[in-house]
C-alpha cells in the first residue's frame, strides 16, 4: 500500500509513516514497529519513523443511544445498563498519511 502510494508521487525518501490502530484489533504497536523496520529496509521508507495512533474503543448503546468509551472490553452501557452495544470506533487499521521529502 505504501509502495502504491509512493509510485504516484515524486518522493526522495519517507520521513514518517502514520497509522491508526483501533483498540479492538490485535495489532500490537511493538510488533508493528518491528515488522515495519523489516519491511522498510532498502526501500524509500528505510529509517522512517512509524507513528502509531491508538484509537480508543467507542461504543454506542442501541437502546438509549448513549456513546461511551468501552473500557476493558466491558460492553455495558453506563447509562441504562444495556448490553446491546454497537462499536462505532476502535476496529480500524489504517494507513493515515506519509510524511515525505
Amino acid at each position: 500500500m505504501i509502495d502504491h502510494t509512493l509510485s504516484q508521487h515524486d518522493v526522495k525518501r519517507v520521513l514518517k509513516v502514520k497509522i491508526k490502530v483501533g483498540e479492538l484489533t490485535n495489532a500490537e504497536p511493538d510488533a508493528l514497529a518491528m515488522a515495519f523496520e523489516a519491511y522498510s529496509k532498502d526501500t524509500l521508507c528505510e529509517g522512517a519513523e512509524l507513528i502509531v495512533e491508538r484509537v480508543p474503543l467507542l461504543g454506542c448503546c442501541r437502546d438509549c443511544h448513549y456513546e461511551f468509551n468501552v473500557k476493558l472490553m466491558y460492553f455495558l452501557c453506563p447509562n441504562c445498563k444495556s448490553t446491546n452495544i454497537e462499536v462505532v470506533q476502535g476496529e480500524e487499521l489504517l494507513l493515515e498519511s506519509l510524511e515525505v521529502e
Binding site: 500500500m1 508521487h9 515524486d10 479492538l24 490485535n26 476493558l72 487499521l93 498519511s97 521529502e101
Partner: protein, 223 residues
C-alpha cells in the same frame, strides 16, 4: 517544490488486501449456497476433536468439506480424512493464522456447488486469527475449560467477533478450579449475542445440541 517536506494523505485500510479477497470468497460460498464457518481456538482446545465428533452426527444428506489450517503438519487432515469427507490441508509455513488468500487458493479443489457446509479449522491461536476475515459466514471458538476462566477477558477481540463458543472438556470440570459462572459472564459481557455450548468431545456431552444448532444455521443460510 517536489522535494520539499510534505505530507501525503492516504487513509487506506491496511486490511484491504485480505478483506477484498475475503469478500470474493464470501460471494463464492453464497453463490454455491454453502455455509462456511471459521473455527478458532488455542492449540489443544479440541478443534479437530470437535470436527471428528461432529461429522458423524450431521445429517447424512448434509454435504460437508473441511479445510485444515496448520503451520507444518498434515496431522489434522489425516484425522479428518478417515471420516470420508473432502479435506484439504493448508500449511501456513510458519504463519500463525489463515488468511483469505490461502483459503482462495484451495477453494477450486472443492466441488463447492455440491456442498452445504465448509468447515475451516484455523491455526491454533486465540490472537491473530481474529483479525483475518476468511470470507466465512461466522466464527466459532473452541475454548477448553482447563485453559482457565480468565481467557475470555484476556483475549476479548476473538470473543467479540464470534457467533458461538464451545466450552470443551466439561468432563474435567470437577478436577480444575475453573469458575464456570465467571467464564460465561465474561464471555457475555464481551459479546451478549454469542451462543454458548458446554461440551465434552470425550464423553459426547452437548455435541448433539451444537450439531443441531449448526444444521439450523445451514438451513437458515440456504433458505
Amino acid at each position: 517544490m517536489d522535494n520539499a517536506r510534505r505530507e501525503i494523505e492516504v487513509m487506506a485500510n491496511l486490511r484491504d488486501s485480505n478483506d477484498m479477497q475475503a469478500e470474493v470468497n464470501r460471494a463464492h460460498f453464497r453463490k454455491n449456497n454453502c455455509l462456511a464457518i471459521n473455527i478458532m481456538g488455542s492449540p489443544g482446545a479440541g478443534k479437530t476433536s470437535l470436527l471428528e465428533k461432529t461429522l458423524p452426527l450431521l445429517n447424512e444428506n448434509m454435504s460437508v468439506a473441511v479445510i485444515e489450517g496448520d503451520i507444518f503438519t498434515t496431522k489434522d487432515a489425516d484425522r479428518i480424512s478417515v471420516h470420508d469427507v473432502p479435506v484439504i490441508q493448508i500449511n501456513t509455513g510458519g504463519s500463525c493464522h489463515l488468511d483469505s488468500k490461502m483459503v482462495a487458493k484451495v477453494l477450486p479443489e472443492f466441488d463447492c456447488q455440491s456442498l452445504d457446509l465448509m468447515i475451516i479449522e484455523n491455526v491454533g491461536n486465540l490472537v491473530c486469527p481474529a483479525d483475518f476475515d476468511l470470507g466465512e459466514a461466522f466464527k466459532v471458538i473452541v475454548l477448553s475449560i482447563v485453559e482457565g476462566d480468565d481467557k475470555p477477558a484476556k483475549y476479548p477481540v476473538i470473543f467479540r467477533k464470534a457467533k458461538a463458543v464451545l466450552l470443551n472438556k466439561m468432563d474435567l470440570e470437577g478436577l480444575t478450579d475453573v469458575n464456570m459462572e465467571r467464564m460465561k459472564q465474561d464471555i457475555l459481557v464481551i459479546n451478549p449475542d454469542i451462543t454458548i455450548f458446554e461440551i465434552s468431545c470425550r464423553t459426547g456431552k452437548g455435541l448433539q445440541d451444537w450439531t443441531n444448532w449448526l444444521q439450523d444455521k445451514v438451513l437458515d443460510f440456504q433458505s
